[in-house]
């Protein structure tokens, strides 16, 4: 019942906030978001399962109820958490609360709707990470898009409509492709499947001989077809190059708190689903095509980093570097070793915190200066030392500096992928990302934060209540490196 309480409390909070007056909406939303935060915290502390539930690992807080019965399939309300989803749930609740707090300053119109949608988004995300029945899961998966669309389209920047529509249509088409892929897999198993429950499907698919050929194609072709469609679908969400172009647009146009959630949690849906579906259900295909997938991962890392180098907008820089960071996750997943998957899971978490922090700091600078362009400002450290200090800390976290969480994830991915089914050359090439990431972040920092103070736009010194929060978050991001012990032993 914990999970239901978690999702329900978020939904109720969303409803209350939607009806609240604009003046109190922000504070109210923050207060109400503490409920799911506390719940997930308690769940985390009492958590006693480990491993990937679909591979026979334990599951905690599980409920299964027959929901709808039709023809030969049944729909279950099946939710539960395991070693992969638990950290992501905590990530979601923490980031949502922080995003709400960070929205107090920049969001000054239609507040109640904004915070209501953010909480609604959280409900969707929690559902995605907990649902274990495909039908339920897919509903949550799609539900996430709706509040995100409005959050970008209403409170976004000048090209918000373009960005919002691009985001919605692109990811929605991807979902449909993925849907076809999954159903192909289910139908190919014939009457042995009685419910589209993920645990059952995963078990059956992995049993040899259960998948039958369809329309004259051999079972292996069917598996490959299903794998490709699902991979394409999730690749858009991650995003993997070349399906990434919605991301920079969405990030640049989205308001800061939404960027935080977009980079921090929404991207993880893609890798989470890849891990849940493709890599768990069809490991054979992964093995056969590991090199090809690794190429995608490596290209994402290097190409994303190089693109970040070419950007002038701080938010775009962070957006492209997200593409690069998510490439590491894919690399760790495709290696499919203990350290690889553990590192990938941890990298999801650490990227969630660090990219969120990064977007927030850029947001603070934008609030003060009304510009995000590298050429428009220099020497900001002189005027906003704490913000810049956090910026520097976050940037070094992004660069994967040891003792910060970014390092733990990356180095585990590298250690896991070097000696695996894919050639170590992929790992070696992907590692070069750590040089490029240092290049563009340090370069951008040198030009904007340091040197003599100069600003093209108006600047006034105002009290900045939210920076105190940022300090705490900074500590949290930096030191979450040590959580790695926990995570990698649970995966």
């Amino acid at each position: 019942m914990w999970i239901e309480a978690l999702i329900l409390s978020t939904l109720v909070a969303s409803g209350i906030v939607l009806l609240a007056p604009n003046r109190y909406a922000g504070k109210l939303a923050a207060a109400l978001s503490l409920a799911p935060l506390a719940l997930s915290g308690i769940m985390w502390l009492n958590y006693d399962a480990a491993g990937n539930a679909l591979l026979g690992g334990d599951m905690a807080y599980e409920t299964t109820t027959r929901w709808v019965e039709f023809a030969s399939y049944g729909l279950n309300w099946h939710v539960g958490v395991d070693g992969i989803s638990m950290p992501l749930i905590v990530l979601t609740t923490i980031l949502t609360t922080l995003a709400i707090v960070s929205a107090w300053t920049p969001i000054d119109t239609r507040q109640s709707q904004f915070y209501g949608l953010v909480l609604f988004l959280q409900a969707g995300l929690l559902g995605v990470f907990t649902a274990l029945d495909f039908f339920v899961w897919f509903i949550f998966w799609e539900v996430v898009l709706v509040p995100m669309y409005f959050l970008i389209a209403i409170w976004g920047g000048p090209r918000r409509k373009y960005a919002a529509i691009k985001f919605f249509v692109y990811t929605n088409i991807a979902s449909l492709i993925m849907f076809v892929g999954f159903l192909t897999l289910v139908f190919s198993m014939g009457p042995s499947v009685r419910a589209i429950d993920l645990t059952q499907v995963a078990q059956l698919v992995r049993t040899p001989g259960v998948v039958e050929g369809i329309a004259g194609f051999s079972p292996n072709t069917v598996k490959l077809f299903a794998f490709t469609l699902m991979f394409l679908g999730f690749a858009v969400k991650v995003p993997i190059v070349p399906f990434h172009t919605w991301l920079p647009d969405a990030h640049v146009e989205a308001p800061t708190p939404v960027s935080v959630l977009l980079a921090g949690v929404l991207l993880k849906m893609g890798t989470y689903a890849l891990l849940r579906f493709n890599f768990t259900m069809l490991p054979g295909v992964v093995r056969d095509y590991a090199a090809l997938i690794a190429v995608f991962a490596v290209v994402s890392v290097i190409y994303g980093a190089l693109l970040a180098l070419a950007q002038q907008d701080l938010k775009r820089i962070v957006a492209y570097s997200s593409i690069s960071s998510m490439g590491y996750v894919i690399l760790g997943l495709v290696a499919y070793t203990t350290h690889g998957v553990g590192g990938a899971t941890f990298q999801m978490l650490s990227h969630g915190f660090i990219s969120g922090l990064m977007f927030m700091v850029v947001g603070v600078i934008y609030n003060e200066t009304h510009t995000r362009m590298v050429g428009d400002m220099s020497g900001m450290a002189d005027r906003m030392p704490w913000t810049v200090g956090i910026f520097v800390a976050a940037a070094f976290g992004y660069m994967g500096l040891p003792l910060m969480s970014g390092f733990a994830g990356e180095v585990l991915v590298f250690l896991g992928s070097f000696d695996s089914t894919i050639s170590p050359l992929f790992t070696a090439v992907a590692m070069f990302g750590i040089v490029i990431v240092a290049g563009y972040l340090l370069w951008a920092m040198q030009r904007t934060l340091f040197g003599p103070f100069d600003l093209e736009t108006e600047y006034e010194i105002r009290p900045r209540p939210s920076t105190t929060w940022h300090r705490w978050w900074c500590c949290c991001s930096v030191w979450s490196g040590w959580v790695s012990t926990l995570t990698s032993s649970t995966v």
Binding site: K166, L306, A310, T338, L401, P402, V411, P424, M431, Q446
Partner: protein, 684 residues
């Protein structure tokens, strides 16, 4: 007596505590965080000394994993741990000593000069010391890498301390980027070592150097990659790690960051160059010397890079105008000597030179700092002159350091540099094949560099302290206080005397057992496999490095000849400098070099091509990719949407809004349908 070893983590934890205190409470403390820093580093020094004494008296070490941060199920785990053997004990003493003195000196250089942002400064120093100390006692290569990188971060923060100016942030960025580039290879090496051996431990029978040794003897199976044989693969591993070493220790071609790093406060330069960041690279090679001793190719490359860097940097030092620039190039050059020693099998010589260099280079930088205070932060030597009488303490200590740097007997640098060259010579002569030739070539370059070292060192001394004052400030320099003079005095005495710990030539001539450093380093517990005789054994095995010594003039004769040659060259350099620059109004004789000077002043255009690579190759390439991304990749996405929009726009024109048209279409459809039925149904 093993109790002291339980306190080893505290050696690093104390500076970490001072970092936290300075960062969060430094503003409210007297001296803005300097006092906790001094106390902490002094505490570390005391503990390090206790540890070193314990190692010395008991001959026991300490090698333990303290914390497992990733527990691998059926694969390797990752640990943080402590390894105390003579090498790390010695290095701990050096680092904490220099750090303490630098903290004290900073009182004079930063506090008395009224700098702002001091809590940040002292926090940086604390973190720097913490990282370096942790790096030194790391017991596995991953932990070493972690703190190696952190050292890079601290150098970034401290070099860029004066962030309001344009220069320091740029220099800081360059320092971090260039060393990161080296660290990339290091990280690949670390990961590959874990993949190959399943462990990253430095010492013991389960350590990767020992496993590599066993693998070469065919007693142990390891994974190699890319179809390479074991020997070749280990060479590749060694070279990958060497990338990080060359970045941090500023070896050619990664040396370009170091002169720029002079933008940082002078005490920081002292810390970086003498004991921490730059020393980290060489220390790493010494730490895993058992691994390098297996690969002749890697040793040859180390020696060649070292010898070349020693000469190459020394030539640039000859023309520099600024005090700290000369010292910067001398640092690069001196670390070249250490690499030369390591490459030619002189493990003790390298550690010895590391020790003496730490002392005299810290001294020279702090002395330069004292001069800079006196000169109101004007660093140009042509504006100085005649400071000898105005600041005697600085002069005499600086002179002590300069004599050590130039390698004049009996100052510290003579003994260590002589031993480096001696090792290179005898091993070059004794080793057969390509490696021997390479060692001799490296020796020749190192020897030539001795002359240049003597020359630029005393050019610096004469220009700064001798002659007539050449500017108003030099006529009336600002006095410095005890907190500047104290550290100088300590280091001045040490620079004169620290060489006595390992007087190999005297030992060879007289037969007295006074090579204490050699004995100390040899005291590492047998089980660790990090002692000198184990390394010598490895080096002399033909299946591994196959380095042998040859002394054509007999042992005494060779050592005497080698010492005489290097001392003679150093003296020649000193005398040449005296001839040219010891004048009341010296002139810039280097102008006579003509175009050569231009090349030297531009540092052989090394910076230019690296900046060109970054700014004119990588960034435009990224720009092209961005255009490609926006145009082609995103173009396809937007193209898909425009195609559907255009199609929709065309099709909707059917919807005219005129009922007549709809009715016509309806009728037409009906007629066509009927016609179709007629044809298919066979009515026609």
């Amino acid at each position: 007596m093993a109790g002291i070893y339980d306190l080893v983590p505290a050696i690093a934890a104390l500076p970490l505590a001072s970092f936290v205190i300075a960062l969060f409470a430094g503003k409210d403390l007297p001296k803005k965080g300097a006092l906790p820093g001094i106390l902490a580093t002094a505490g570390s020094l005391a503990l390090s000394l206790a540890v070193a004494v314990t190692v010395f008296t008991t001959g026991e070490g300490f090698n333990q994993n303290l914390y497992t941060f990733v527990a691998g199920q059926d694969t390797f785990s990752l640990h943080l741990g402590v390894l105390i053997d003579p090498l790390s004990a010695l290095m701990l003493v050096i680092v904490s000593l220099i750090a303490t003195l630098v903290h004290v000196f900073s009182l004079g250089y930063m506090n008395d000069e009224g700098e702002t942002g001091l809590p940040r400064y002292y926090a940086g120093l604390g973190l720097f010391t913490f990282s370096m100390l942790s790096f030194v006692f790391a017991n596995n290569i991953l932990m070493a890498f972690m703190f190696f990188e952190l050292v890079g971060l601290c150098s970034y923060l401290l070099i860029g301390f004066w962030f309001r100016e344009a220069g320091p942030p740029s220099a800081a960025k360059k320092a971090f980027l260039v060393t990161r580039f080296g660290d990339y290879f290091f990280l690949v090496g670390v990961v590959a070592i874990f993949a190959t051996f399943g462990t990253g431990a430095f010492a013991g029978s389960e350590s990767f150097p020992h496993l590599a040794e066993l693998a070469l003897e065919g007693e142990y199976d390891v994974n190699t990659f890319f179809g390479l044989g074991e020997q070749a693969w280990f060479t590749v591993l060694g070279l990958l790690v060497l990338g990080g070493v060359m970045g941090k220790s500023a070896q050619f071609p990664f040396h370009t960051w170091l002169p720029d790093a002079m933008e940082g406060p002078t005490p920081v330069s002292a810390l970086i160059h003498a004991a921490t960041m730059v020393a980290a690279g060489v220390f790493l090679v010494a730490r895993m010397y058992g691994f390098y001793a297996l690969s002749p190719t890697a040793l040859a490359i180390i020696a060649l890079v070292g010898g070349f860097t020693a000469l190459f940097a020394a030539t640039m030092g000859v023309v520099k105008q600024e005090l700290k620039q000369v010292l910067a190039y001398s640092t690069i050059s001196q670390y070249g000597y250490m690499m030369l020693a390591l490459g030619s099998g002189g493990y003790v010589a390298a550690v010895f030179h590391l020790t003496t260099h730490a002392v005299f280079k810290a001294l020279l930088f702090l002395g330069a700092g004292s001069v800079i205070i006196a000169m109101h932060h004007n660093e140009n030597m042509w504006d100085m002159g005649g400071l000898k009488d105005k600041m005697p303490v600085t002069y005499w200590t600086f002179l002590s350091g300069s004599l050590a740097l130039a390698g004049i007997v009996p100052f510290a640098g003579f003994w260590s540099k002589d031993e480096v060259l001696y090792e290179a010579l005898i091993h070059g002569l004794g080793t057969e094949g390509g490696l021997g030739i390479v060692l001799l070539a490296a020796y020749a370059m190192g020897l030539l560099a001795v002359f240049f070292t003597g020359f630029y060192t005393f050019r610096m001394v004469y220009l700064t302290f001798h002659g007539e004052p050449r500017s108003d400030i030099a006529r009336d320099p600002e006095p410095v206080r005890w907190n500047v003079k104290g550290p100088l005095a300590v280091l001045g005495v040490l620079a004169a005397t620290v060489g006595f710990i390992n007087m190999v030539p005297v030992k060879k001539v007289t037969g007295l057992e006074i090579d204490y450093l050699h004995q100390f380093l040899d005291m590492a517990p047998e089980a660790y496999l990090t002692n000198v005789h184990h390394y010598t054994e490895l080096l002399e095995t033909d299946a591994f490095a196959g380095i042998h010594a040859a002394t054509p003039l007999g042992e005494v004769g060779t050592v005497a000849a080698s010492a005489a040659v290097s001392l003679g060259l150093a003296l020649a350099g000193v005398l040449a400098a005296r001839q040219l620059y010891n004048a009341p109004q010296p002139v810039e004789h280097t102008d006579r070099l003509g175009r050569v000077k231009t090349i030297l002043m531009h540092n052989y255009y090394q910076d230019e091509y690296q900046v060109w690579l970054a700014r004119d190759v990588t960034v435009p390439f990224a720009g092209v990719l961005d255009t490609f991304d926006q145009g082609i990749v995103d173009g396809v996405v937007n193209g898909a949407s425009s195609v559907s929009r255009t199609a929709g726009r065309q099709v909707r024109k059917l919807q005219t809004g005129v009922v007549t048209n709809y009715a016509a279409l309806l009728t037409l459809g009906l007629v066509l349908l009927l016609a179709a039925f007629a044809v298919v149904g066979g009515w026609v």
